[in-house]
């Protein structure tokens, strides 16, 4: 569980703000994270380590708890992504976590009216180069082009795996050429 000071930075009410009659847990929907994803307890001033004042970052994932860590954005990029004829919006961001892990957060937002849900993924970057991770993301996005449609919905898009993959690599190349993101302090970054 996140210490109270940190929860306050993330916008959650502290016990003083809740008042004496408020339920102790129902007002704290924050869930326990697994050991690997847990934010360390706040250190005393004498034992503070670099990054203790970094914001808490939550990276959403499909079908799993979000990844939660203290970190800073390294670079982020938002751009359009032609997914088989649909003009989607894709967010790509790299984060440096407090203990020197690097996380890659990815999301793809299909246009309104096509009935497709957004896709969210997060990878810890342990491989060099990044291509295997990006290839996994590209495959996942390509696999989720919806098939079943109502009568009034537009027809399914043309599926062109080569175009999708090429478009993704173009977009991520733009991301890595972009200016580094400005450090944020005392603000929670959410994907």
């Amino acid at each position: 569980m996140v210490p109270e000071k940190e929860a306050s930075q993330a916008g959650a009410p502290t016990s003083d703000q809740r008042g004496p009659d408020a339920p102790d847990v129902l007002d704290e929907p924050r869930i326990e994270t697994s050991e690997a994803e847990q934010v360390p307890e706040a250190a005393s001033p004498a034992t503070r380590t670099p990054g203790d004042d970094w914001p808490i970052i939550l990276l959403r994932r499909d079908g799993a708890r979000p990844v939660r860590f203290r970190g800073q954005p390294i670079v982020s990029f938002t751009g359009s992504y032609d997914l088989g004829g649909w003009d989607c919006l894709q967010d790509v961001a790299l984060f440096l976590a407090q203990h020197n892990q690097i996380y890659l957060g990815l999301s793809l937002h299909p246009p309104h009216g096509v009935g497709a849900r957004p896709v969210f993924a997060c990878f810890e970057v342990t491989e060099t180069p990044l291509e295997p991770l990006l290839a996994r993301w590209s495959t996942r996005v390509r696999d989720h082009i919806p098939l079943q449609r109502s009568v009034d919905a537009p027809p399914p898009p043309r599926i062109a795996p080569a175009e999708v993959t090429a478009g993704f690599h173009t977009l991520t190349a733009q991301c890595f050429r972009a200016e580094p993101a400005q450090p944020e302090r005392n603000n929670e970054c959410r994907q």
Partner: protein, 160 residues
């Protein structure tokens, strides 16, 4: 769709009954293939995936009971009046167990098997095409559900 309103009405037996904590509500969830699940508690989180373009949608609920257990509910609704909505619910001892139940749900089993051709006489290419279409529908349903589960867990974690 046909039973959505009836289910919604049957889910809640009483609200704000004397003797219950102020935020607690008594629920009776009629499950498919199981005994109704009765409990008193409060809703911790809810997410719904309705969009007019898709012929079905999910609603996921997490409840905390007054006896400090947790209930995970997955409802599947159809826009078509010809299909019956379904409800599945499980009670867990901890929030971790409830979330595990939520993330391990396989929406692929919600896709009905529909075969519109003669299996004995259909050419192999047609059977292969049907199998591929079925596989795509299962994959889409799984992604649809996982996307919604990820949304709920993100909102729960961030306090939204």
């Amino acid at each position: 769709m046909s039973s959505m309103m009836e289910n919604a009405a049957a889910d809640i037996v009483t609200a704000g009954s004397p003797g219950l904590p102020p935020a607690a509500t008594a629920y009776c969830l009629q499950r498919a293939g199981a005994r109704p699940l009765r409990f008193e508690g409060s809703e911790l989180a809810m997410a719904m995936s309705f969009t007019p373009e898709v012929p079905y949608w999910y609603e996921i609920n997490l409840y905390r009971t007054v006896s400090q257990t947790f209930v995970t509910v997955v409802r599947l609704f159809y826009q078509s009046a010809d299909k019956s909505d379904t409800l599945r619910a499980w009670e867990s001892e901890s929030i971790d167990d409830a979330i595990d139940t939520l993330t391990q749900y396989d929406a692929g089993y919600d896709i009905p098997v529909t075969i519109d051709f003669d299996v004995d006489d259909a050419p192999p290419a047609e059977m292969a095409a049907e199998a591929m279409a079925m596989k795509a529908r299962i994959s889409e349903a799984r992604h649809h559900y996982k996307s919604l589960a990820g949304e709920l867990l993100f909102d729960l974690e961030s306090g939204a």
